[in-house]
Subunit: 501 residues, 2 copies
Amino acid sequence: MDSTYLELKERLAKIHDLGQVEGLLGWDQQTKMPPNASDVRAAQIATVVGIQHEMFASDETGRLLDQLDSFANAQDPASDEARLIRVTQRDWERQRRVPNELASELAQASGEGYAAWHTARANSDFPSFLPYLERMIDLKRRYVECFPEVSEPWDALFEDYESGMTAAEVKTVFGRVQERLTPLMKLVAANPHAVDDSPLRGFFPADLQEKLSRRLLAHWGFNDEGWRLDPTAHPFASAAATTDVRLTTRYDEAYLGTSLFGSLHECGHGMYEAGVSPTLERSPLCHGVSLGLHESQSRMWENLVGRSRAYWKFAYPTLIEEFPEQFKGLDEEAVYRAANKIAPSFIRVEADEASYTLHIIIRFELELAIFRGELQAAELENAWNAKYKEYLGIEVPDAATGVLQDVHWSLGLMGYFPCYALGNVLSCQIWDRMQTDLGDLDAKVGAGEFAPLQDWLREHLWRHGRKFSPKETILLAAGAPLNPEPYLAYLTEKVTGLYGS
Amino acid sequence: MDSTYLELKERLAKIHDLGQVEGLLGWDQQTKMPPNASDVRAAQIATVVGIQHEMFASDETGRLLDQLDSFANAQDPASDEARLIRVTQRDWERQRRVPNELASELAQASGEGYAAWHTARANSDFPSFLPYLERMIDLKRRYVECFPEVSEPWDALFEDYESGMTAAEVKTVFGRVQERLTPLMKLVAANPHAVDDSPLRGFFPADLQEKLSRRLLAHWGFNDEGWRLDPTAHPFASAAATTDVRLTTRYDEAYLGTSLFGSLHECGHGMYEAGVSPTLERSPLCHGVSLGLHESQSRMWENLVGRSRAYWKFAYPTLIEEFPEQFKGLDEEAVYRAANKIAPSFIRVEADEASYTLHIIIRFELELAIFRGELQAAELENAWNAKYKEYLGIEVPDAATGVLQDVHWSLGLMGYFPCYALGNVLSCQIWDRMQTDLGDLDAKVGAGEFAPLQDWLREHLWRHGRKFSPKETILLAAGAPLNPEPYLAYLTEKVTGLYGS
């Protein structure tokens, strides 16, 4: 093997290690860290991110990449080697635009912003969070300025999560989805009590919820040798290695759905990270390729599997073993229906599949306006509440249930939310293609045979990691470019099935 | 403030951050990490340590130190500024001797060694651990070779934990201790049933043990805002910041003493780290100064406080609230006596105060022989067992109870064990001086008034961190150089009180 290539690979392995360590510091911060340490932790994260950025965006990395250009041309273009060099070239050129100092300030602001958000949400106090949000937006504006070729400022942020896609494309997809969503939501509004979600409401002790989640995840391969599950305020999945996948969930003792579907959702993310080819471990290719594709996996396992009739045929016995009293006199159809109740609500992470996209459209429009300079951070709470009134017809009662509900902006995750909705769209495209290859997926899910689905996804999506661009990867997995129709067909069938046509 | 000084301080803050991050990766590895990730984690730790070493031992650090020499001369020699420069000069000169590659290999071997030890101990299988131990000893030999001026090879390792002290000094102290210990142990052997530790044996559910530990630690200032307590195979304390102190303990459901005194012990370490002056946060001075002094704090709170009659007068009501059945018909004197049973045993961390030093002397002698080349790693299990037979009169039944019991060698902590025994010695010196200043300490402990002791220790020891050398710090805290007599007087009084004179 070319020694320059090995030198690059070793350098990138160390840089990747720092990224994984940063992720672990974040996981620890949200799940284990004593709160008094938040300032020092912010500084520690800033140090790691700063060094990582400095090492990666260095002249030395550029020199190695230059030297390897002809080596890369001589390789199979789809080889790990060629892809490592090409993807790194693109990443390097992008990072060279961002000064080390800015990267480091962003990391520091993220740590401090998270702590401020945590307190502000607990007190439902948007003004106490506002200075942190303003600082973050200001830093993100400086970030956007590093990419002056972008005509839509927000696109420079979106590029980090869904490379190659733009606000204009999102708008087109969201427009089409909203067009079909409106009559479906009217159907629901005309018949609001058609579905009863009371089976999932009552009293569900947190320790039993955890036990149930662990049992259900075990059917999908979750085990203590390579996975963790911890409680947190805002659920997420992270992976410090393909062999170290960490899911978090939130236990609401009055509503089982939060932890139940939250765990299934995060496990979908976890499977993608755990499924990246081991040959890519400790390389910059060792992650899911984009947030949209990542979300396609979490949504697929949460919704297409976890909220299907077939799944509850399989999982119902486990559910009633943990909660025999709570489900006395009910059956699997009752759980299926409860899992699929559609109703406008305040909290995105608890939203149903149909109205979910409206939550995302609100955030997307607010972010666009902020970065176009048409909206100030101080106006966000009012703007948020106005849009919830307009799009979902509901009055937000307080900031904790409104503008402070999501952790994202506190951490600097802006230009991120639309990927959640793209995940819904992509999950249905991939599901349809998998069904074409494997035959009746519901039959497999109903029999608890998840391995064929996992093998297919590993082959067509997971193992590739970041080897190919998001758009190339969509082609590999879905067989076609982004297309909302399978998702709309799925949603129409489900909603009309439950609420009448 | 001098801009070069600020530049050095910022550089050292980042380097310190990396050290704290390394500590956190280690904590996570031992308490939270899924075991499949051990190889990747070893690489991640090696990366962080390698970068830290490279940044610290760089020419750039040396240049800043050179430039600051006259600035340091112009400061109060006891100021944070002067001490930061002087301590860093000493650390830098020492680290310059160690090649980056070796530092990185040591970190990698530590991660992999820990994983191998963990499995080997579970299977009581020394041969499976031997290659890892041999690799570690080999790397440590290369480390020793970086300090050719040292005539006793082991001293080069010991210097990292108890700077300024030598094997020869340890031998003198150990010799004197052993001289006085021999008649005391004979006293115990003549009357082996004088003390009954059965009150601490029986069935103590782990969750209740944890609750008891948390309640007892809360009396000493442990709280969820700045501290953690987690279970682990080998208990330790670490601090990612003065505001982020993490204790671990082990729950043996058949013996309460392990977690009870283990928690008190680790809390002593934690108080020292939490008590370092906040002005030293994120600097290389923000740690306890030596292992011996660190251990003086853990042993003081475990033994001089935790195993005293006065403490049980205070703590007994808490104990019986958690374990009313287990202590039915007993009283605080029964717990005091049970906590102080003396009997030769296999496991160092469970050894009584008197025979503890014998466990340490065995390890000290074995390490000395290894690094003198008089003993091979492959001979360690037999040599270990022979010494336990000779010094403690007991036959080691298996490797898990013998040579594999301690995590230290797997992690590369060699030249470390004697500090535990020095901690006993120093704890009694400091205790006597504190008593001179504060009056009757037992009266305060018996009344649950721990704050005066903590204030005194913060003033005379904790707040200094690494500002002064270990020997200077011993003078500040104990008012005299290392001296085993207070420890021997304490031990003699306790043993004769329990076993007759």
